[in-house]
């Protein structure tokens, strides 16, 4: 649950975005610019957060009236091993060091819905038990704890956004879900499902994930919020929607390797935090993703 410092939105003096080369950063930059908020996006080419001097260099970039948003991580397509985990934690260590030195006005961390354990209930809330199933998700919960400790020590308000799988234009990875389905449908004329694609998931449009993150920035929010929009739908339904829009696309099942698990999110906290937020419908979001991929 989030607690807002500003009940009505207040623009930060500047927003520093960590993870300039990632999926979410361009959308954050675009929306903030449209809102008249100055931004400074920092990517690994400028400051490699795994480097020994990264904390110091980042601290030098930060001002006391900055709001900082961290959307920087080595995603599973870059590696699922221990070495990748440790690099990700080193990145967080650098950021924590910078927070201690520069004490920005507000910090928002982009985490993941993967931190939750859906074994005991398929309906998840911000209060659900965190039990990461893999090292990537473990990394996010470890980073959350690191940032909580550092922000508390530096008296910096911390907001944590846990988005479900994000899709939409500008995806830098190729994970299982809408974006991969669109690519393979356009390229190969087929979409391959894991099993029958029965698993229900929320699919969050990149604009919606960015908007929720920006709302946290504008309200100076502290606490945790899930960025889970719309209804959870099955991968099969997503594939069929894409196939219907593109036409002449085969949706293929494969032998199931893992048991079916569903993940639904309770939208109460999001409704409470940002009642006037309106999510992109899945149909509109998929149509947009297809158009962009077709170069229209």
């Amino acid at each position: 649950m989030l607690v807002h410092k500003h009940s009505t939105p207040l623009k930060p003096a500047r927003v520093v975005i960590l993870g300039a080369g990632g999926f979410l950063s361009p959308e954050l930059t675009r929306l903030l610019a449209a809102d008249g908020v100055p931004t400074r996006a920092i990517g690994s080419r400028e400051i490699d957060l795994t480097a020994a001097d990264a904390g110091e260099r980042l601290a030098a970039e930060l001002r006391p009236d900055d709001a900082v948003i961290m959307a920087a991580a080595l995603t599973p397509d870059k590696g699922r091993d221990i070495a990748t985990l440790m690099k990700n934690l080193r990145m967080a260590e650098s950021v924590c060091a910078a927070i201690g030195r520069s004490k920005p006005a507000h910090f928002v961390y982009i985490s993941s819905d993967g931190v939750y354990d859906a074994r005991f209930s398929s309906l998840l809330t911000e209060e659900s038990t965190c039990e990461p199933a893999d090292l990537y998700c473990l990394m996010h919960i470890a980073r959350e704890r690191m940032l909580e400790q550092s922000c508390r020590a530096a008296a910096v308000p911390l907001g944590i956004v846990r988005p479900c799988a994000i899709y939409g234009p500008g995806d830098t990875h190729n994970s299982y879900g809408p974006n991969r389905f669109v690519r393979t449908a356009l390229k190969d004329g087929k979409i391959t499902l894991f099993g029958g694609g029965e698993e229900c998931r929320h699919h969050v449009h990149v604009t919606d994930a960015a908007k929720i993150s920006i709302l946290c920035l504008l309200h100076g929010s502290t606490g945790v919020i899930n960025a889970a929009t719309g209804e959870a739908v099955s991968f099969r339904e997503v594939a069929e929607k894409i196939a219907a829009v593109i036409g002449n696309v085969a949706v293929e099942k494969t032998p199931r390797a893992n048991p079916v698990t569903h993940r639904h999110f309770d939208s109460s906290a999001l409704a409470l935090a940002f009642p006037s937020f309106r999510a992109t419908s899945l149909d509109d979001g998929l149509a947009q993703a297809i158009e962009r991929s077709q170069g229209l």
Partner: protein, 420 residues
């Protein structure tokens, strides 16, 4: 029946007002004490701070046997005194026993050595045994099962009396025995701890039914079933029964059930019992409470705070009561604090200073007039008789199904209720 003995009641909150009245209805002479300023005067005039069906009628018919007083010394004449102060709870539903303990000390210092003292207030297990160490064998704990909105009827015609005793094998004092027999129901003596837990156990079973109903009603919504078609079948099952709590709602509210859940969690923690199911009930209750909030959010009715007007019928936590303790309606008003509201309730009053954007109306139709959505948050019967033709709100959220949903749809209104 009639008796010359006065039966005393100390603490005239909801519990004391209702049970002192029921005792008078059963023919006893009653002395009811509360020293809060002006309260005895108001009660003597028949002006009650609580709203319960049948209360005014009972007062008119039997009030002559009731004497309200602010003087504690008057209790000295009573051979049987009930302690009936409702125990307040905080925002986390924990009991604050301070006022009750002070009242008991006060009464014990006034009552004669042979006076029987029976606690009706909501106390946690262990409370009475400890108190009996001070008061001796004249102490009893009579389990109350007051139901808001049906309290008078249930107090006059109880299903049974459960009485906690220091020694259940000992006979009751004569006056207490006379009192218990006057209600014509089974009397179950048991040790203090059993009686204290019995009250909590009853509430746990109620919450269990409420939660199961709510969970299954939501599944009905998902698969296209209608809970109102299932419920009659369940009531005919002897293992579930005709009076089971099978109406879907917005979670548990009112304060008493919530308090007992917190108490049982604390005891389970103390003794290492698994009370995870209680946590699940609590979680489900909050989830159900927010059903309307989610609906409004998900269909986009909250997009324009500055331009929207929301109408709410019902502020009380349930029908036929004025109580707003843990009311889902007030939780909704707080959640959407920045929105413009028009509200109506037949009995409940809200602190308007806490809700500056809520305009309290004098009728249901006035509250609905010009609103973008009508939300029926409390299932008062009078709402069912409001002429629907007069409604102009494009959306109707009626979780309890008070209104005629088909008629609403015929009128072109978007209608939704729980369980279908």
């Amino acid at each position: 029946m009639s008796t010359n003995h006065s039966i005393g009641f100390a603490g005239l909150s909801h519990l004391g007002i209702i049970y002192s009245m029921a005792t008078a209805v059963r023919g006893f002479s009653v002395l009811a004490f509360d020293e809060r300023e002006g309260l005895a005067t108001e009660l003597t005039a028949g002006r009650f701070p609580v709203s319960e069906p049948g209360l005014d009628e009972a007062f008119r018919a039997h009030g002559k046997r009731l004497q309200y007083t602010a003087d504690p010394k008057a209790l000295a004449q009573c051979g049987l005194i009930f302690i009936t102060l409702d125990v307040a709870t905080d925002a986390s539903n924990n009991s604050d026993l301070t006022a009750l303990e002070n009242l008991i000390d006060r009464v014990a210092s006034i009552a004669g050595a042979d006076t029987t003292i029976a606690i009706m207030s909501q106390v946690p297990p262990g409370f009475c045994r400890k108190l009996a160490g001070k008061l001796g064998s004249r102490l009893y704990y009579q389990v109350e099962t007051l139901v808001f909105g049906n309290a008078v009827e249930r107090a006059i015609n109880p299903e049974r009396y459960m009485v906690g005793c220091g020694d259940p094998a000992e006979p009751f004092p004569a006056l207490y025995q006379t009192f218990l027999q006057a209600f014509g129901c089974p009397v179950l003596p048991m040790r203090f701890e059993s009686a204290e837990l019995c009250k909590i156990a009853i509430n746990c079973f109620l919450v269990s039914s409420v939660t199961t109903t709510n969970m299954l009603a939501e599944i009905c919504e998902g698969i296209g079933a209608d809970w109102s078609e299932l419920a009659p079948a369940l009531r005919l099952d002897r293992r579930i029964g005709p009076y089971a709590y099978l109406s879907p709602g917005l979670g548990i509210a009112g304060g008493n059930l919530e308090r007992d859940l917190v108490t049982i969690q604390r005891i389970a923690g103390q003794f290492g019992s698994d009370a995870g199911v209680v946590t699940a009930w609590q979680r489900n209750s909050v989830y159900r409470r927010d059903w309307v909030l989610r609906r409004l959010f998900e269909v986009g009715l909250l997009e324009r705070p500055a331009e929207s007007t929301l109408a709410v019928w019902g502020l009380a936590y349930k029908q036929d009561t004025h109580s707003i303790k843990n009311s889902p309606s007030l939780a909704l008003l707080r959640s959407l604090f920045d929105y413009r509201w028009q509200a109506y309730d037949p009995a409940a009053i809200i602190p308007t200073a806490d809700f500056p954007r809520v305009r309290v109306c004098s009728s249901a139709l006035e509250a609905a007039r010009g609103a973008d959505v009508l939300i029926v948050m409390t299932p008062w019967k009078e709402f069912a008789s409001v002429p629907l033709d007069g409604l102009t709100t494009p959306h109707v959220l009626d979780p309890y199904g008070v209104l005629d949903g088909n008629r609403c749809r015929e009128l072109g209104l978007q209608y939704a209720r729980l369980g279908a």
